[in-house]
Amino acid sequence: MKNWFRTLKALVWKDLLQEWRSKDMLTSMLAFAILSLFIFNYAMELDPRQRAELAAGVIWVVIMFSGTLGLNRSFLAEQEQGSFDALVMAVPDVAVIWLAKQISNYLIMLILIVITLPVYSVLYNQNLFVPQFLIELVLGAWGFSAAGTLISSMTVQTRMRDLLLPVLLFPVLMPVNMAVVKAGQGVLSGAGWETYQVWISILLVYGIIMTTISLLVFDYVIRE
């Protein structure tokens, strides 16, 4: 088990170091997210009450689309030089490759969230730094990247990966999208915990289920 975690640590470090040097994922994700926020800001002339109602939806749509851009690139380093095969040959358990990639993608999603929220707050003059809202975004991001990492590991081997990833991913993400938006609306409108508790529970359960499924099926997915 100790070796498993050392392997995991080595793979996460490899992904983050590569991303730090290339900035392949983060640059495209951030550029897309910030531009989208500007466009939404100009497109929707809303009063403060309407803005509060729409904030959770707008911020999640921006994060989800930006995240999808990043996911499309997350296995490219492995694909381009065939190093995926070398990883499969080297690791004691293939599932560790998925978990490492999931953790790397998740950390990059968190960076995206940390940068996107203040930009939104400034543009829309609305404070999003509410602990419950941050918790549901963090849970939603885990579910998003768990499903996205698994599906991008399948689509990266296809020629139409840029198109296939969102087509396959978005239906799978329906529970996450609904739960993040509903919970966010509840939190930002100042409703009580009991009104959005169920949505946060859904996010938690979705994350656990998707993580478990991915760890179980990843070996099969990459082999076939």
């Binding site: 070796n3 050392r6 392997t7 080595a10 793979l11 490899k14 170091l17 590569q18 040097r21 290339s22 380093a77 381009e80 030089q81 065939g82 190093s83 095969d85 070398a86 990883l87 499969v88 040959m89 080297a90 690791v91 004691p92 358990d93 293939v94 082999r223 076939e224």
Partner: protein, 251 residues
């Protein structure tokens, strides 16, 4: 150690790539797999390495049946394929360090530098791989494949991109790993170049694998007609419809 592969078959849909192939490899033996482009050499090697599932076949290591899918088998294999398997945004030494960690070899930095030095890349050890030439990347790939002292080495056209000096280094390394008792399966379009370290040749032709023709001190010129014997017979027996052929770009 003796690896025996019996009755291996691999199809891609209706395309028969390898049919009922059997061969064995012993410790310290280097067998060269020959075949024209698209013959299925790479597919056979991917199956032998455990990266691709066979449709049929049994595999024995020292008489005990094994699964080529098991991590235990895969981690005994060192691979050099067409692609370099290297991370372009890591330095040469960082690439080796990563795989040293994955194989739980825990090499010190000094040992990693020695491994890089063995393939003549010491001065480029701390440069990003993306600025390496193809030949330098191939040298690093070879260093990576040997890093965990594999018991089985599978090399698919390992001389690709190597200059004269790089080829000499690879030949020395092959002789060394044979002495250490590793078994080597190699493909090459220039079998004469590797003849000095080769123990036998086998050929994949129309999805069928020939018997191993052992070198036994003979030169490549003497062996060539024997290795290609079945091709001559096969061409004579070939029907106009190309019966038994294995098309496609699989080699």
């Amino acid at each position: 150690m003796l690896l025996e592969i019996k009755g291996l078959s691999k199809n891609f849909g209706a395309l028969v790539v390898v049919r009922d192939a059997s061969f064995s490899l012993e410790s310290g033996q280097l067998i060269c797999l020959l075949g024209s482009n698209g013959a299925g050499k790479t597919t056979l090697m991917r199956v032998a390495s455990g990266l691709l599932s066979p449709d049929e076949g049994k595999f024995y290591l020292d008489g005990t049946e094994i699964s080529l899918h098991s991590a235990q088998w895969r981690r005994q294999v060192g691979l050099v394929f067409h692609k370099t398997f290297l991370y372009q945004n890591l330095t040469g030494v960082e690439n080796l360090h990563l795989f040293s960690q994955l194989y739980q070899c825990e090499h010190s930095e000094k040992e990693l530098l020695q491994a890089i030095d063995r393939v003549g890349l010491k001065s480029a050890a701390n440069r990003l791989v993306r600025i390496y030439s193809r030949g330098m990347q191939q040298r690093l790939t070879i260093a990576r494949a040997l890093l965990h002292e594999p018991r089985v080495l599978i090399l698919d056209e390992p001389f690709t991109g190597l200059d004269k000096d790089g080829s000499r280094v690879l030949m020395e390394l092959l002789a060394e790993v044979k002495l250490q008792g590793s078994m080597v399966l190699i493909t090459s379009h220039d079998p004469g170049a590797t003849h000095s370290v080769t123990d036998g040749y086998m050929r994949l032709f129309r999805a069928a694998l020939s018997e191993v023709v052992l070198v036994k001190g003979r030169s490549w010129q003497e062996l060539e007609p024997l290795v290609y014997e079945d091709q001559v017979q096969g061409a004579a027996a070939k029907t106009p419809s190309g019966e038994g052929g294995s098309g496609g770009n699989l080699g």
